[in-house]
């Protein structure tokens, strides 16, 4: 899966979860940029990313992600392992 495809997939999840336009989600988007993206939402977004991409993300890195790009990169590295 290419980086752009992965970004679109993750943006779609964020868009559904937070009722925002996925097109507005970029690699630079942070939780503070999106109304309602708190730590609970973050956990649920992570769950959905794992479910849809059929991967297991390292829990210890969940809360160190600084933006959507970090999440895309983390997911990409886990996809590469699987």
């Amino acid at each position: 899966m290419s980086g752009d495809t992965l970004l679109h997939a993750i943006a779609a999840i964020i868009g559904e979860r937070l009722l925002v336009d996925p097109a507005a989600i970029t690699r630079e988007t942070t939780a503070e940029d999106v109304d309602g993206w708190d730590s609970v939402t973050h956990t649920l977004v992570m769950m959905e990313v794992e479910r849809r991409l059929n991967i297991t993300l390292p829990v210890d890195k969940f809360f160190d992600l600084e933006n959507v790009g970090d999440l895309v990169d983390l997911a990409a590295s886990e996809l590469a392992k699987s």
Partner: protein, 285 residues
Amino acid sequence: MKPVLLAFGNCQAFAMMKIAETLPTLADRYEICYLPSHPDLGDVVGGPGLAARCEVVWEQVGVNQRLPFRDALAPGTKRVRFPELSFPLLWPMDCTDPRNQPDPPRHWGRFPYGDRLALQLIGEGLSGNAGYEAWVERGAQTLPDLQRLLDMEMARSRRRAAEVDIEPMTFILDHWRTERLFATLNHPSNTVLWPLCMQLIEASLPALPLAQAEIGLARERFLNPVAGGVDMDWFQVVIHPLVAETFGLAWCNEETLHRCEVPGVDHPLTRRAFMADYYMAAPSP
């Protein structure tokens, strides 16, 4: 003018303010104020010059916004950070319900909390008892790996503990299987909020001469919404039976009642009634 004790944060911080107000020793010494972390949460409670007069700040973290005037606080201001309390473990299918039309801050709409599976079933044309039965049956296919979610929550809890001065999660994690500690994923019950406030007082004002009788009266009042306490349990979301079974929730079964104080509902509902008669009820003709 009295010095200020400020609670900053979401509705949980508002509850901290309400508890503080009921303790005469605290209320005599301080003007007890509240600063919401989001405009939807209501208005600022407090007089002018709030920042300059703050002597004690109870600052909630994890609410998407930090205390706005923290740099303007006097050097001796006592700041105690406490976490935003939420518990998605019990509602892993929570989502925003697109049918809801909120009108905050006093009215949160008819569907303030959504359920992803129920909405999917509604989209398939199911409603009422048939909808409820399908919601129960298809939970196994839709629910995430609950053990995995528990691992994530433990990680989130550890992270929050590192960012705050007060840690109520130990109490929560010790009791959530045997007591109903949350009404919704972001509404802790009063039985959680009371000890949190006592922790805040102890951490910020250890020398405050609070008498046991005073604490007892305030506790009694706070835990009784009819007597003027805060009511965080006005809407209690149902828990999927598979979630209750997997986590061994001793307090949750088919007959457990759920307060559901939204337009059109005026009495507590069982799990089936909540889904069949309210959340997945057939639309009015």
